[in-house]
Protein backbone atom coordinates (compact mmCIF):
# COMPACT_ATOMS: atom_id res chain seq x y z
CA UNK A 1 0.00 0.00 0.00
CA UNK A 2 2.77 2.41 0.93
CA UNK A 3 4.55 1.58 -2.31
CA UNK A 4 1.41 2.44 -4.21
CA UNK A 5 1.10 5.78 -2.43
CA UNK A 6 4.62 6.71 -3.48
CA UNK A 7 4.03 5.57 -7.03
CA UNK A 8 1.19 8.08 -7.40
CA UNK A 9 3.77 10.85 -6.98
CA UNK A 10 1.92 12.22 -4.03
CA UNK A 11 3.96 15.34 -3.28
CA UNK A 12 2.37 15.90 0.13
CA UNK A 13 3.39 12.44 1.18
CA UNK A 14 6.96 12.71 0.01
CA UNK A 15 7.64 16.12 1.55
CA UNK A 16 5.74 15.17 4.73
CA UNK A 17 7.70 11.96 5.13
CA UNK A 18 11.01 13.73 4.58
CA UNK A 19 10.23 16.43 7.16
CA UNK A 20 8.94 13.94 9.73
CA UNK A 21 12.01 11.74 9.16
CA UNK A 22 14.30 14.73 9.72
CA UNK A 23 12.49 15.63 12.95
CA UNK A 24 12.58 12.04 14.20
CA UNK A 25 16.30 11.84 13.43
CA UNK A 26 16.79 15.15 15.22
CA UNK A 27 15.03 13.81 18.31
CA UNK A 28 16.93 10.52 18.20
CA UNK A 29 20.20 12.45 18.21
CA UNK A 30 18.79 14.39 21.15
CA UNK A 31 18.15 11.18 23.07
CA UNK A 32 21.36 9.30 22.30
CA UNK A 33 24.03 11.83 21.35
CA UNK A 34 23.10 15.19 22.72
CA UNK A 35 26.09 17.55 22.26
CA UNK A 36 25.81 19.31 25.62
CA UNK A 37 23.78 18.91 28.79
CA UNK A 38 20.83 21.18 28.12
CA UNK A 39 20.77 22.64 31.62
CA UNK A 40 24.49 23.37 31.90
CA UNK A 41 25.00 27.05 32.68
CA UNK A 42 28.13 28.91 31.70
CA UNK A 43 28.62 32.64 32.29
CA UNK A 44 31.38 32.92 29.70
CA UNK A 45 29.15 31.58 26.93
CA UNK A 46 26.28 34.03 27.53
CA UNK A 47 24.81 34.87 24.11
CA UNK A 48 27.70 33.19 22.35
CA UNK A 49 27.21 33.61 18.59
CA UNK A 50 26.69 30.69 16.22
CA UNK A 51 29.93 28.78 15.86
CA UNK A 52 31.14 25.28 15.10
CA UNK A 53 31.03 24.28 18.77
CA UNK A 54 27.58 25.81 19.27
CA UNK A 55 25.91 25.71 15.85
CA UNK A 56 22.74 27.49 17.07
CA UNK A 57 24.57 29.71 19.57
CA UNK A 58 23.93 30.03 23.29
CA UNK A 59 21.17 31.64 25.36
CA UNK A 60 21.10 34.12 28.20
CA UNK A 61 22.46 31.52 30.67
CA UNK A 62 25.10 30.30 28.25
CA UNK A 63 23.23 27.08 27.53
CA UNK A 64 23.65 25.45 24.11
CA UNK A 65 20.54 26.27 22.05
CA UNK A 66 20.93 23.24 19.75
CA UNK A 67 20.81 20.86 22.72
CA UNK A 68 17.92 22.74 24.21
CA UNK A 69 15.95 22.69 20.94
CA UNK A 70 16.59 18.92 20.74
CA UNK A 71 15.34 18.27 24.25
CA UNK A 72 12.57 20.80 23.86
CA UNK A 73 11.34 19.07 20.71
CA UNK A 74 11.36 15.76 22.56
CA UNK A 75 9.40 17.24 25.46
CA UNK A 76 6.86 18.87 23.15
CA UNK A 77 6.58 15.72 21.07
CA UNK A 78 5.95 13.60 24.16
CA UNK A 79 3.18 15.87 25.38
CA UNK A 80 1.59 16.03 21.93
CA UNK A 81 1.80 12.27 21.50
CA UNK A 82 0.29 11.62 24.93
CA UNK A 83 -2.47 14.09 24.22
CA UNK A 84 -3.34 12.45 20.93
CA UNK A 85 -3.28 8.96 22.44
CA UNK A 86 -5.64 9.96 25.26
CA UNK A 87 -7.88 11.88 22.86
CA UNK A 88 -8.05 9.07 20.29
CA UNK A 89 -8.60 6.30 22.80
CA UNK A 90 -11.51 7.96 24.60
CA UNK A 91 -12.69 9.51 21.35
CA UNK A 92 -13.08 6.09 19.72
CA UNK A 93 -14.86 4.64 22.73
CA UNK A 94 -17.25 7.55 23.29
CA UNK A 95 -17.78 8.25 19.60
CA UNK A 96 -18.24 4.55 18.83
CA UNK A 97 -20.76 3.95 21.58
CA UNK A 98 -22.80 7.09 20.91
CA UNK A 99 -22.74 6.68 17.14
CA UNK A 100 -23.47 2.98 17.09
CA UNK A 101 -26.07 2.64 19.81
CA UNK A 102 -27.69 6.07 19.62
CA UNK A 103 -30.70 6.68 21.81
CA UNK A 104 -30.46 7.99 25.33
CA UNK A 105 -26.72 7.29 25.83
CA UNK A 106 -26.04 9.28 22.71
CA UNK A 107 -28.19 12.19 23.87
CA UNK A 108 -26.62 12.36 27.32
CA UNK A 109 -22.99 11.85 26.30
CA UNK A 110 -23.18 14.20 23.36
CA UNK A 111 -24.69 16.98 25.47
CA UNK A 112 -21.83 16.55 27.93
CA UNK A 113 -19.39 16.67 25.03
CA UNK A 114 -21.16 19.76 23.69
CA UNK A 115 -20.74 21.43 27.04
CA UNK A 116 -17.04 20.58 27.10
CA UNK A 117 -16.70 21.62 23.48
CA UNK A 118 -18.14 25.04 24.25
CA UNK A 119 -14.91 26.04 26.01
CA UNK A 120 -11.81 26.69 23.93
CA UNK A 121 -9.36 23.76 24.35
CA UNK A 122 -6.68 25.95 25.93
CA UNK A 123 -9.09 27.44 28.46
CA UNK A 124 -10.32 23.98 29.31
CA UNK A 125 -6.78 22.70 29.74
CA UNK A 126 -6.05 25.67 32.00
CA UNK A 127 -9.06 24.71 34.07
CA UNK A 128 -7.80 21.14 34.45
CA UNK A 129 -4.33 22.36 35.32
CA UNK A 130 -5.72 24.52 38.08
CA UNK A 131 -7.21 21.30 39.49
CA UNK A 132 -4.33 18.90 38.73
CA UNK A 133 -1.44 21.27 39.24
CA UNK A 134 1.21 22.10 36.64
CA UNK A 135 3.86 19.80 35.21
CA UNK A 136 4.49 17.75 32.10
CA UNK A 137 2.13 14.87 32.95
CA UNK A 138 -0.59 17.16 34.16
CA UNK A 139 -0.45 19.14 30.94
CA UNK A 140 -0.61 15.96 28.89
CA UNK A 141 -3.69 14.73 30.73
CA UNK A 142 -5.36 18.14 30.63
CA UNK A 143 -4.77 18.56 26.91
CA UNK A 144 -5.81 14.97 26.31
CA UNK A 145 -9.16 15.53 27.99
CA UNK A 146 -9.62 18.77 26.12
CA UNK A 147 -9.09 16.89 22.84
CA UNK A 148 -11.59 14.10 23.52
CA UNK A 149 -14.70 16.00 22.31
CA UNK A 150 -13.41 16.73 18.84
CA UNK A 151 -12.25 13.15 18.34
CA UNK A 152 -15.48 11.64 19.58
CA UNK A 153 -17.49 13.86 17.23
CA UNK A 154 -15.48 12.71 14.23
CA UNK A 155 -15.69 9.04 15.24
CA UNK A 156 -19.40 9.33 16.02
CA UNK A 157 -20.17 10.76 12.59
CA UNK A 158 -18.31 7.89 10.92
CA UNK A 159 -20.07 5.26 13.01
CA UNK A 160 -23.44 6.85 12.29
CA UNK A 161 -22.70 6.60 8.58
CA UNK A 162 -21.44 3.02 8.81
CA UNK A 163 -24.15 1.57 11.02
CA UNK A 164 -26.77 1.91 8.31
CA UNK A 165 -24.66 0.19 5.71
CA UNK A 166 -25.84 -3.20 4.54
CA UNK A 167 -22.60 -4.92 5.53
CA UNK A 168 -23.31 -4.12 9.18
CA UNK A 169 -26.81 -5.60 8.82
CA UNK A 170 -25.25 -8.65 7.22
CA UNK A 171 -22.79 -9.09 10.10
CA UNK A 172 -25.64 -8.77 12.57
CA UNK A 173 -27.66 -11.40 10.70
CA UNK A 174 -24.72 -13.75 11.04
CA UNK A 175 -24.75 -13.29 14.77
CA UNK A 176 -21.82 -10.92 15.34
CA UNK A 177 -21.94 -9.18 18.71
CA UNK A 178 -22.18 -5.41 18.93
CA UNK A 179 -18.63 -5.09 20.23
CA UNK A 180 -17.33 -7.21 17.36
CA UNK A 181 -19.30 -5.22 14.79
CA UNK A 182 -18.01 -1.96 16.24
CA UNK A 183 -14.35 -2.80 16.51
CA UNK A 184 -13.76 -5.54 13.93
CA UNK A 185 -16.20 -4.61 11.19
CA UNK A 186 -16.68 -0.85 11.35
CA UNK A 187 -13.46 0.49 12.87
CA UNK A 188 -11.12 -0.48 9.96
CA UNK A 189 -13.36 1.53 7.66
CA UNK A 190 -12.76 4.75 9.52
CA UNK A 191 -8.97 4.49 9.63
CA UNK A 192 -8.42 6.99 6.79
CA UNK A 193 -10.54 9.62 8.54
CA UNK A 194 -9.04 8.75 11.89
CA UNK A 195 -5.45 9.04 10.66
CA UNK A 196 -5.93 12.48 9.20
CA UNK A 197 -7.73 13.70 12.32
CA UNK A 198 -4.97 12.25 14.50
CA UNK A 199 -2.44 14.21 12.48
CA UNK A 200 -4.45 17.42 12.79
CA UNK A 201 -4.94 16.71 16.49
CA UNK A 202 -1.21 16.19 16.87
CA UNK A 203 -0.52 19.58 15.32
CA UNK A 204 -3.01 21.28 17.58
CA UNK A 205 -1.43 19.52 20.54
CA UNK A 206 2.04 20.76 19.57
CA UNK A 207 0.69 24.29 19.36
CA UNK A 208 -1.27 23.90 22.60
CA UNK A 209 1.76 22.58 24.46
CA UNK A 210 3.88 25.43 23.12
CA UNK A 211 1.34 27.99 24.22
CA UNK A 212 0.93 26.36 27.65
CA UNK A 213 4.67 26.37 28.24
CA UNK A 214 4.82 29.89 26.85
CA UNK A 215 2.33 30.88 29.54
CA UNK A 216 4.55 29.24 32.16
CA UNK A 217 2.43 26.19 32.93
CA UNK A 218 3.39 22.82 31.59
CA UNK A 219 7.04 21.88 31.33
CA UNK A 220 8.79 23.47 34.30
CA UNK A 221 12.14 25.31 34.16
CA UNK A 222 14.97 24.61 33.79
CA UNK A 223 13.79 21.72 31.58
CA UNK A 224 13.46 22.98 28.01
CA UNK A 225 10.36 22.86 25.82
CA UNK A 226 9.80 24.67 22.55
CA UNK A 227 7.09 26.89 23.99
CA UNK A 228 9.21 27.77 27.05
CA UNK A 229 12.19 28.66 24.87
CA UNK A 230 10.07 30.94 22.70
CA UNK A 231 8.72 32.66 25.77
CA UNK A 232 12.19 33.15 27.27
CA UNK A 233 13.61 34.30 23.95
CA UNK A 234 11.13 37.06 23.33
CA UNK A 235 12.97 39.45 25.65
CA UNK A 236 16.07 39.15 23.50
CA UNK A 237 14.38 38.83 20.13
CA UNK A 238 16.22 41.77 18.53
CA UNK A 239 19.52 41.25 20.26
CA UNK A 240 19.80 37.49 19.72
CA UNK A 241 17.34 36.50 16.99
CA UNK A 242 18.72 32.95 16.72
CA UNK A 243 17.43 32.22 20.25
CA UNK A 244 13.82 32.57 19.09
CA UNK A 245 14.40 31.47 15.53
CA UNK A 246 15.42 27.85 16.04
CA UNK A 247 12.70 26.71 18.44
CA UNK A 248 10.25 28.48 16.12
CA UNK A 249 11.56 26.56 13.13
CA UNK A 250 11.30 23.31 15.10
CA UNK A 251 7.62 23.98 15.89
CA UNK A 252 6.89 24.84 12.26
CA UNK A 253 8.66 21.76 10.89
CA UNK A 254 6.94 19.47 13.37
CA UNK A 255 3.53 20.78 12.41
CA UNK A 256 4.18 21.03 8.68
CA UNK A 257 5.56 17.51 8.48
CA UNK A 258 2.67 15.89 10.26
CA UNK A 259 -0.05 17.88 8.52
CA UNK A 260 1.36 17.05 5.09
CA UNK A 261 1.57 13.42 6.08
CA UNK A 262 -1.97 13.51 7.47
CA UNK A 263 -3.29 15.06 4.26
CA UNK A 264 -1.60 12.44 2.13
CA UNK A 265 -2.76 9.48 4.22
CA UNK A 266 -6.30 10.83 4.54
CA UNK A 267 -6.65 11.31 0.78
CA UNK A 268 -6.08 7.73 -0.41
Amino acid sequence: MIKKLFKNKNLNLIIGTVIVAIMVLFMLVGIFAIPYESTDISASLKFAPMSLEHPFGCDNFGRDILSRVMEGTIATFKVALGTVIIGTFFGIIIGGVTGYFGGIIDEVLMRVIDAVFAFPSILLALLFISILGSGTYQVTIALGIAFVPSFSRIVRAEFLKAKNMDYVRMARLMGASNIRIMFVHILPNIYPVLISSIMIGFNNAVLAEASMSYLGIGVQPPEPSLGRMLSEAQTYIFKVPNYALFPGIAVILLILGFSLLGDALGEK
Binding site: D166, R169, M170, A171, L173, M174, G175, V184, P188, N189
Partner: protein
Amino acid sequence: MNNIVTVNNLTVKFSNRKSAFSKKVTKTVLDDVCFEVREGEILGLVGESGSGKSTIAKAILKLVPYEGEIHHESDNPQMIFQDPYSALNPAKKVGWLFEEALYLKGEKDSLVRKAKALEMIQMVGLSEEYLERFPRELSGGQRQRVCIGLALMQNPKFLIADEAVSALDVTIQAQILELLKELHDKMGLSILFISHDLKVVYNLCQRVMILKSGKIVESGEVKEVYTNPQHEYTKQLLSSVF
Protein backbone atom coordinates in the same frame (compact mmCIF):
# COMPACT_ATOMS: atom_id res chain seq x y z
CA MET B 1 -45.15 -29.20 2.33
CA ASN B 2 -44.02 -27.56 5.53
CA ASN B 3 -43.84 -23.84 5.96
CA ILE B 4 -40.43 -22.43 6.67
CA VAL B 5 -41.75 -19.01 7.65
CA THR B 6 -45.29 -18.22 8.72
CA VAL B 7 -46.34 -14.60 9.03
CA ASN B 8 -49.62 -13.73 10.71
CA ASN B 9 -51.17 -10.28 11.06
CA LEU B 10 -47.87 -8.49 10.58
CA THR B 11 -48.22 -4.76 11.18
CA VAL B 12 -45.35 -2.33 11.18
CA LYS B 13 -45.72 1.28 12.20
CA PHE B 14 -43.01 3.87 12.12
CA SER B 15 -43.36 6.79 14.43
CA ASN B 16 -41.28 9.83 14.02
CA ARG B 17 -40.79 13.01 15.96
CA LYS B 18 -39.69 16.07 14.09
CA SER B 19 -38.03 17.34 17.24
CA ALA B 20 -37.88 16.22 20.86
CA PHE B 21 -40.92 18.30 21.77
CA SER B 22 -43.26 17.85 18.83
CA LYS B 23 -45.95 15.21 18.59
CA LYS B 24 -45.21 11.75 17.31
CA VAL B 25 -46.28 11.13 13.73
CA THR B 26 -47.21 7.50 13.15
CA LYS B 27 -47.17 5.94 9.70
CA THR B 28 -48.44 2.45 9.01
CA VAL B 29 -46.04 0.78 6.60
CA LEU B 30 -47.44 -2.74 6.73
CA ASP B 31 -51.05 -3.42 7.50
CA ASP B 32 -52.15 -6.87 8.66
CA VAL B 33 -49.99 -8.91 6.31
CA CYS B 34 -50.40 -12.70 6.34
CA PHE B 35 -48.43 -15.17 4.24
CA GLU B 36 -46.22 -18.21 4.45
CA VAL B 37 -43.07 -19.32 2.70
CA ARG B 38 -43.13 -23.03 1.92
CA GLU B 39 -40.12 -25.22 2.21
CA GLY B 40 -38.04 -25.29 -0.97
CA GLU B 41 -39.97 -22.69 -2.92
CA ILE B 42 -39.06 -19.33 -4.36
CA LEU B 43 -41.77 -16.91 -3.39
CA GLY B 44 -41.92 -13.63 -5.27
CA LEU B 45 -42.95 -10.39 -3.60
CA VAL B 46 -43.74 -7.62 -6.06
CA GLY B 47 -44.46 -4.02 -5.24
CA GLU B 48 -43.54 -0.50 -6.24
CA SER B 49 -41.43 1.89 -4.23
CA GLY B 50 -43.01 2.72 -0.90
CA SER B 51 -45.22 -0.35 -0.87
CA GLY B 52 -43.40 -1.74 2.16
CA LYS B 53 -41.75 -4.72 0.54
CA SER B 54 -38.35 -4.09 2.09
CA THR B 55 -40.01 -3.61 5.47
CA ILE B 56 -41.41 -7.14 5.25
CA ALA B 57 -37.87 -8.44 4.84
CA LYS B 58 -36.61 -6.39 7.76
CA ALA B 59 -39.47 -7.52 9.98
CA ILE B 60 -38.80 -11.18 9.21
CA LEU B 61 -35.15 -10.67 10.11
CA LYS B 62 -36.17 -8.72 13.22
CA LEU B 63 -34.38 -5.59 12.07
CA VAL B 64 -37.46 -3.43 12.76
CA PRO B 65 -40.00 -3.56 15.60
CA TYR B 66 -43.32 -5.08 14.54
CA GLU B 67 -46.68 -6.29 15.80
CA GLY B 68 -48.07 -9.68 14.94
CA GLU B 69 -46.59 -13.12 14.68
CA ILE B 70 -43.64 -14.33 12.68
CA HIS B 71 -42.83 -17.99 13.08
CA HIS B 72 -39.49 -19.30 11.85
CA GLU B 73 -38.52 -22.87 11.08
CA SER B 74 -35.00 -21.88 10.13
CA ASP B 75 -32.68 -20.56 12.80
CA ASN B 76 -30.39 -18.33 10.76
CA PRO B 77 -32.16 -16.64 7.88
CA GLN B 78 -29.86 -14.62 5.64
CA MET B 79 -30.33 -11.78 3.22
CA ILE B 80 -28.97 -10.55 -0.10
CA PHE B 81 -29.20 -6.80 -0.46
CA GLN B 82 -29.93 -4.68 -3.50
CA ASP B 83 -26.74 -2.69 -3.50
CA PRO B 84 -23.73 -5.00 -3.63
CA TYR B 85 -21.54 -1.93 -3.09
CA SER B 86 -22.69 -1.35 0.47
CA ALA B 87 -23.30 -4.99 1.41
CA LEU B 88 -19.62 -5.88 1.53
CA ASN B 89 -17.30 -4.39 4.11
CA PRO B 90 -14.90 -2.27 2.03
CA ALA B 91 -12.05 -2.68 4.52
CA LYS B 92 -11.95 -6.49 4.39
CA LYS B 93 -10.92 -9.06 1.83
CA VAL B 94 -13.49 -11.46 0.42
CA GLY B 95 -11.77 -14.40 2.11
CA TRP B 96 -11.88 -12.69 5.49
CA LEU B 97 -15.61 -11.99 5.07
CA PHE B 98 -16.31 -15.64 4.22
CA GLU B 99 -14.29 -16.91 7.16
CA GLU B 100 -15.87 -14.41 9.52
CA ALA B 101 -19.29 -15.91 8.76
CA LEU B 102 -18.01 -19.32 9.84
CA TYR B 103 -16.16 -17.91 12.85
CA LEU B 104 -19.38 -16.30 14.05
CA LYS B 105 -21.14 -19.62 13.67
CA GLY B 106 -18.58 -21.14 16.03
CA GLU B 107 -16.06 -22.72 13.67
CA LYS B 108 -12.73 -22.16 15.47
CA ASP B 109 -10.47 -24.19 13.18
CA SER B 110 -8.99 -21.80 10.66
CA LEU B 111 -8.04 -24.59 8.24
CA VAL B 112 -11.64 -25.76 8.06
CA ARG B 113 -12.75 -22.17 7.54
CA LYS B 114 -10.28 -21.70 4.71
CA ALA B 115 -11.37 -24.90 3.00
CA LYS B 116 -15.02 -23.98 3.23
CA ALA B 117 -14.38 -20.46 1.94
CA LEU B 118 -12.60 -21.93 -1.06
CA GLU B 119 -15.47 -24.29 -1.71
CA MET B 120 -17.97 -21.44 -1.57
CA ILE B 121 -16.09 -19.06 -3.86
CA GLN B 122 -16.01 -21.81 -6.48
CA MET B 123 -19.67 -22.55 -5.92
CA VAL B 124 -20.62 -18.97 -6.81
CA GLY B 125 -18.57 -19.23 -9.97
CA LEU B 126 -15.42 -17.31 -9.03
CA SER B 127 -11.88 -18.60 -8.83
CA GLU B 128 -9.70 -18.97 -5.75
CA GLU B 129 -7.79 -15.72 -6.26
CA TYR B 130 -10.92 -13.69 -5.58
CA LEU B 131 -10.59 -14.58 -1.90
CA GLU B 132 -7.58 -12.29 -1.77
CA ARG B 133 -9.36 -9.31 -3.28
CA PHE B 134 -11.03 -6.31 -1.71
CA PRO B 135 -14.66 -5.59 -2.68
CA ARG B 136 -13.60 -2.44 -4.54
CA GLU B 137 -11.57 -4.60 -6.91
CA LEU B 138 -14.66 -6.49 -8.08
CA SER B 139 -17.28 -5.62 -10.69
CA GLY B 140 -20.95 -5.32 -9.76
CA GLY B 141 -21.79 -8.84 -10.88
CA GLN B 142 -18.80 -10.33 -9.06
CA ARG B 143 -19.76 -8.47 -5.91
CA GLN B 144 -23.28 -9.83 -6.05
CA ARG B 145 -21.84 -13.32 -6.45
CA VAL B 146 -19.72 -12.74 -3.35
CA CYS B 147 -22.80 -11.45 -1.49
CA ILE B 148 -24.69 -14.60 -2.38
CA GLY B 149 -21.76 -16.75 -1.26
CA LEU B 150 -21.53 -14.82 1.97
CA ALA B 151 -25.22 -15.24 2.67
CA LEU B 152 -24.94 -18.99 2.08
CA MET B 153 -21.79 -19.40 4.17
CA GLN B 154 -23.70 -20.28 7.33
CA ASN B 155 -25.73 -22.82 5.42
CA PRO B 156 -29.13 -21.21 5.96
CA LYS B 157 -32.40 -22.84 4.96
CA PHE B 158 -34.12 -19.57 4.23
CA LEU B 159 -32.86 -16.65 2.20
CA ILE B 160 -34.33 -13.25 1.48
CA ALA B 161 -33.24 -11.54 -1.73
CA ASP B 162 -34.20 -7.87 -1.66
CA GLU B 163 -34.02 -6.47 -5.21
CA ALA B 164 -30.92 -8.63 -5.57
CA VAL B 165 -30.56 -8.08 -9.33
CA SER B 166 -32.09 -4.64 -9.82
CA ALA B 167 -28.79 -2.77 -9.82
CA LEU B 168 -27.18 -5.04 -12.43
CA ASP B 169 -26.96 -4.93 -16.21
CA VAL B 170 -29.30 -7.31 -18.03
CA THR B 171 -26.66 -9.82 -19.09
CA ILE B 172 -25.19 -9.91 -15.56
CA GLN B 173 -28.70 -10.06 -14.14
CA ALA B 174 -29.40 -13.18 -16.19
CA GLN B 175 -26.22 -14.84 -14.90
CA ILE B 176 -26.99 -14.03 -11.26
CA LEU B 177 -30.55 -15.34 -11.62
CA GLU B 178 -29.16 -18.52 -13.15
CA LEU B 179 -26.79 -18.87 -10.18
CA LEU B 180 -29.60 -18.32 -7.68
CA LYS B 181 -31.72 -20.98 -9.37
CA GLU B 182 -28.83 -23.41 -9.41
CA LEU B 183 -28.02 -22.89 -5.73
CA HIS B 184 -31.67 -23.14 -4.86
CA ASP B 185 -31.89 -26.55 -6.50
CA LYS B 186 -28.59 -27.73 -5.04
CA MET B 187 -29.10 -26.66 -1.45
CA GLY B 188 -32.85 -26.98 -1.11
CA LEU B 189 -33.16 -23.33 -0.18
CA SER B 190 -36.37 -21.46 0.42
CA ILE B 191 -36.17 -17.96 -1.00
CA LEU B 192 -38.32 -14.88 -0.57
CA PHE B 193 -37.52 -12.93 -3.72
CA ILE B 194 -38.42 -9.26 -3.47
CA SER B 195 -38.51 -7.30 -6.70
CA HIS B 196 -40.27 -4.58 -8.62
CA ASP B 197 -39.56 -6.39 -11.88
CA LEU B 198 -42.47 -8.57 -12.94
CA LYS B 199 -40.48 -10.21 -15.69
CA VAL B 200 -37.77 -11.44 -13.36
CA VAL B 201 -40.31 -12.76 -10.87
CA TYR B 202 -42.13 -14.61 -13.63
CA ASN B 203 -38.98 -16.44 -14.62
CA LEU B 204 -37.74 -17.30 -11.16
CA CYS B 205 -40.64 -17.80 -8.77
CA GLN B 206 -43.31 -20.41 -8.28
CA ARG B 207 -45.69 -18.27 -6.29
CA VAL B 208 -46.08 -14.50 -6.17
CA MET B 209 -47.61 -11.89 -3.89
CA ILE B 210 -48.49 -8.38 -5.04
CA LEU B 211 -48.04 -5.69 -2.39
CA LYS B 212 -49.58 -2.26 -2.54
CA SER B 213 -49.42 0.40 0.17
CA GLY B 214 -48.62 -2.12 2.87
CA LYS B 215 -51.32 -4.60 1.92
CA ILE B 216 -51.10 -7.82 -0.07
CA VAL B 217 -53.67 -7.30 -2.80
CA GLU B 218 -53.20 -10.56 -4.63
CA SER B 219 -51.27 -13.78 -4.29
CA GLY B 220 -51.09 -17.18 -5.91
CA GLU B 221 -49.26 -19.30 -8.46
CA VAL B 222 -47.25 -17.09 -10.82
CA LYS B 223 -48.88 -18.43 -14.00
CA GLU B 224 -52.31 -18.04 -12.47
CA VAL B 225 -51.75 -14.45 -11.32
CA TYR B 226 -50.10 -13.35 -14.55
CA THR B 227 -52.67 -14.88 -16.88
CA ASN B 228 -55.72 -14.12 -14.83
CA PRO B 229 -55.12 -11.14 -12.54
CA GLN B 230 -58.04 -10.47 -10.22
CA HIS B 231 -57.12 -7.16 -8.65
CA GLU B 232 -57.24 -3.86 -10.54
CA TYR B 233 -53.71 -2.97 -9.41
CA THR B 234 -52.24 -6.24 -10.67
CA LYS B 235 -53.82 -5.65 -14.04
CA GLN B 236 -52.36 -2.17 -14.14
CA LEU B 237 -48.90 -3.48 -13.22
CA LEU B 238 -49.00 -6.18 -15.88
CA SER B 239 -50.14 -3.76 -18.55
CA SER B 240 -47.14 -1.53 -17.77
CA VAL B 241 -44.60 -4.20 -18.59
CA PHE B 242 -42.79 -3.78 -21.89
